[in-house]
Amino acid sequence: MIPLHGRAAWIGYGVVALAILFIVGPTAWIFLNSIKYQIAIYSGAWVFEPTLDNYIDVLFSRRSDLVHNLWNSFVVAGLSTVAVLVVGSLGAYGVHRWFRSRLFAKLLMGWVLIFHMIPVITLVGPWYLFFQSLGLYNTLLALVLTHITINLPMTMWIMLTYFNEVPTELREAATIDGCGDFTTFRRIILPLVGPGLVSSGILSFVFSWNEFAIALNLTARDTATVPVAIARFAQQFEIQHAQMAASSMIAIVPALLLMVFGQRFIVRGLTTGAVK
């Protein structure tokens, strides 16, 4: 992009600062709650005695499996993201390359949209019975498979827009140079749609990381993911805001790290592919 200068730059920085304040303000406020005792949260106090008790409680108390939940979430979100990127970009490329402007392509892309519109509570019942009958209830595999499926529509649509942007000449040139279909896809096309893979990867990861309804239905204590664990702090007659804030803060950190490194991993994987 074109760097801004002079007055425009000041306006730009002003807008960015405001946006960041709007986004960060509430997040910082949640962080403050994580180091308060519940009574300080209740009274909305700005002067309070900071404490790490909430973090200690959610990490180490007997009742807590948060570390284990984090591991489950890490496995599910990680695996399902990698898989949905592979499955989704292959599918979108197929639609783009071989089924373009055909009825089938339209039907498929329409179907995934309709599927995406279905309220999740009507899905979880059938899915629970399906995985139970396969003996996959209470396994991370069931969760990985369902998360791939729910993230497929978004991934395919995002990737399709990126594939459509790739100039046709590039592909034709590769074919003339003797590259086969797969080699062209892997060595020429994919490196060009890297930003698309990164953004759909980040979004799939985040959706899987925070997905609650399916995880609740398909898991039990050993396989519960972070959102299910955090929802336990919203009890019938009492919300434990302090613990909820602390565990939410803890859950953000690995997600952020994974996204930063995962992004590099994707970009590097693509560029080494292109160089070879």
Partner: protein
């Protein structure tokens, strides 16, 4: 049956006050034998840690293993339904909110205790919360009269009135006995926004329906005429119900914060715990917050009383209990394991351990024991005194639909979108339609003048 309850409690309480002290009987635990590991679906809640400690004690005493799947409250119904609808339930004991039990009883998803063990009987003095753990399939009603024992309560929530002991004493006031007392205390002590006179939930849905129920019952009103006899004539638009709603709205308008229409449990606890409310109507489960220094600015200053009454009437106390039940689709061996745990858990010894660890026990003799005399258990007397007035509502298959209607119309009356008479008339019409669709014998009272 009600009479039996009342006398049992009266007798038990009398005994308790006579025998208070270390000499109170430490009833033994039961020896229930060796059983395979069982798994319990249970929600996180203020009483969970007490339950967990009781389970630890069970494992230690018997060597039997118990797995607890602690689930968010919002996910309990889904997981319980999944469990009973599948070929094999992953759970051997399900914790069911009393409002959901009808679906599970009527769908015959559960194993009656007598079919697991002919000889199983609830110990005397175990609270049944209006027989919420019995099911009479023929009458489609929860009653021990001709009904089968389907489970028992691990926890019984009822309403109590919370009040600021210190403030009332300072002002020379007695704890309120009637809603007019509540009004008078509110007028004396309120100083908003620093101090509200009275708070309770007004949030749409279950919150307002449940927290208004003590007013309805206390005024002598009801939702339907005699559901226990199959008479589903809708009586929600009676003059008594209107009196109850008007009183509720008057108190909310005069004493509570301006956002009454969305006040939920969290807000009620927040206002009481920060010392910004002088009185509040809430369930006993909220208690654990107020004596906890990390959560409360009013430690030791709050006390409980039986829900206030309308002058010259008995108070209304709404039950919101849980029921432990055993699904049909688990092996006989595990069903016996579940029953063994239940037998142990209902012993006086286990109930006492449960109470001491922060649970709300379900044996009347535990409430009447020396525990009740300790300051940290000062809520026990009001709880026990309330039992004789405690009533279930919505004990029919259409309960959730009726609650949705009431939850909306009451809330609209509270925020002034419609008059109380119009809200009740509308609700009556809608509830009658629900029962008509369900094929019940129904009808409704003449509309209130709007």
């Amino acid at each position: 049956m009600k009479f039996q309850f009342a006398t049992a409690f009266a007798a038990a309480s009398a005994l308790a006050f006579a025998a208070a002290g270390p000499a109170a009987a430490q009833a033994p635990f039961a020896d229930v034998g060796k059983h395979p590991e069982i798994s319990i679906l249970i929600n996180s809640s203020p009483w969970f840690s007490g339950f967990e400690k009781a389970v630890d004690l069970y494992e230690k005493q018997t060597g039997n293993k118990v797995k607890l799947d602690v689930t968010p409250y919002g996910g309990m119904l889904e997981k319980a339904r999944n469990a009973v609808r599948a070929a094999n339930s992953p759970y051997d004991i399900l914790n069911l909110d009393a409002l959901w039990t009808i679906e599970f009883y009527e769908g015959s998803f559960l194993k009656p205790f007598a079919e697991i063990d002919q000889g199983f009987a609830l110990p005397a003095g175990v609270l049944t919360f209006e027989d919420s753990n019995y099911w009479n399939a023929q009458r489609r009603w929860r009653t021990r009269d001709g009904g089968q024992l389907m489970g028992y309560s691990p926890n019984g929530n009822i309403h109590v009135l919370y009040y600021r002991d210190d403030l009332l004493k300072q002002a020379g006031l007695q704890p309120p006995k009637t809603w007019d007392d509540v009004s008078a205390i509110c007028q004396k002590l309120k100083n908003p926004p620093g101090m509200y006179g009275f708070v309770t939930r007004g949030e749409k849905g279950n919150p307002i329906r449940y927290d208004w129920t003590p007013f309805l019952q206390g005024a002598g009103g009801s939702i339907v005429k005699a559901p226990q006899d199959g008479d589903y004539t809708v009586t929600i638009n009676s003059p008594q119900a209107k009196q109850a709603l008007d009183k509720y709205i008057e108190l909310q308008k005069n004493c509570a914060p301006p956002n009454v229409g969305v006040i939920g449990q969290g807000d009620v606890i927040q206002l009481l715990a920060t010392g910004r409310a002088a009185q509040g109507l809430a369930v006993i489960a909220a208690w654990s917050t107020f004596d906890d220094r990390q959560k409360s600015a009013v430690v030791g200053k709050i006390n409980t009383a039986v829900v206030p009454a309308f002058a010259g009437r008995n108070p209304g106390v709404a039950i919101g209990n849980w029921v432990f039940a055993v699904p049909k689709n688990v092996s006989a061996e595990r069903q016996r394991g579940a029953l063994a745990f239940s037998r142990w858990f209902l012993t006086a010894g286990a109930q006492r351990a449960y109470a001491e660890a922060g649970g709300i026990p379900v044996r009347s003799d535990t409430f009447a024991s020396d525990l009740a005399a300790k300051p940290e258990f000062r809520w026990m007397k009001a709880y026990l005194d309330s039992q004789q007035f405690a009533r279930q509502e919505l004990g029919y298959a259409e309960g959730a639909q009726v609650e949705a209607v009431l939850g909306l119309r009451l809330n609209q009356a509270l925020i002034g979108e419609m008059s109380s008479a119009r809200a009740l008339n509308t609700a009556a019409r809608e509830i009658e339609e629900i029962f008509q669709r369900g094929g019940r014998r129904t009808g409704k009272l003449d509309a209130l003048p709007e």
